[in-house]
């Protein structure tokens, strides 16, 4: 199934892209695909935050077809 991946800020620069669509296995979790994505780029990144369809989620959140998954560092607005 397909999901859209987005990266922001320092993580976007580290991954070298802001967005892409990937194919993942059924019942993959946010953490499953984060491990795959960071291993594919051979990057280490502590304190990654994740959202699915613009909602903060836990790492074990199971994804479904068409989800928008965003990874980014801790927020620093205000």
């Amino acid at each position: 199934m397909k999901v859209t991946i987005k990266y922001f800020a320092s993580l976007r620069e580290l991954m070298g892209e802001s967005s892409r669509i990937i194919n993942i296995d059924e019942k993959s979790s946010v953490d499953d695909i984060w491990q795959l994505l960071k291993d594919s780029k051979q990057v280490e990144f502590d304190n990654v935050m994740a959202t699915v369809n613009m909602e903060y989620v836990k790492n074990n959140k199971v994804l479904k077809e068409g989800d928008e998954v965003a990874f980014f560092p801790p927020v620093t607005g205000g």
Binding site: K6, F8, A9, S10, T51, M54, Y56, A70, F72, P73, P74, V75, T76, G77, G78
Partner: protein
């Protein structure tokens, strides 16, 4: 309630005046509390020359709306104005404005503080600073100070 992401500089004091003048709540509120965040020329011991503020379009607005809705209910706020800059920021620019109108000062102070603290911890914005030694992403917000 007005919540906006601004790509151009704004003057927070004028925004408050314009917004309040257009409200039809005269006599309904007795307290207005505002917080204005401005860009400093220093951070963690380094001189900062300029800054870039990135955000997550749609999610940032959604998060700000959710925070404001919770605050409105929790603190019985009558009105609120929330503006936040993105893009290239210069020293002295107003970055964020939170203004709330309530019947009494306790709700106004606490509601304004609540919105700012929630914004700082959950609204998807990221600061990148340019200093004399190069550019760097700000890694964490100062907490509760």
């Amino acid at each position: 309630m007005l919540i906006e992401i601004r790509k151009e500089p704004f003057n927070a004091y004028k925004e408050i005046e314009i917004y309040e003048n257009n409200l039809d709540i005269t006599g309904k509120y007795g307290a207005t509390a505002s917080f204005i965040g401005s860009m400093r020329d220093f951070n963690e011991g380094r001189e900062v020359e300029k800054m870039f503020l990135e955000y997550y379009p749609k999610m940032t607005e959604k998060t700000l709306n959710e925070i404001s809705a919770i605050a409105k209910k929790k603190y019985d706020l009558i009105e609120m104005l929330l503006l936040h800059r993105v893009g290239n920021i210069s020293i002295g620019d107003h970055i964020v404005l939170v203004s709330v109108w309530a019947a009494h000062r306790k709700e106004a102070f606490e509601g304004c503080r609540f919105i700012m603290e929630e914004l700082k911890s959950s609204a998807p914005f990221w600061k990148k600073e340019k200093t004399s030694i190069g550019e760097n992403w700000v890694e964490k917000n100062t907490s509760d100070v």
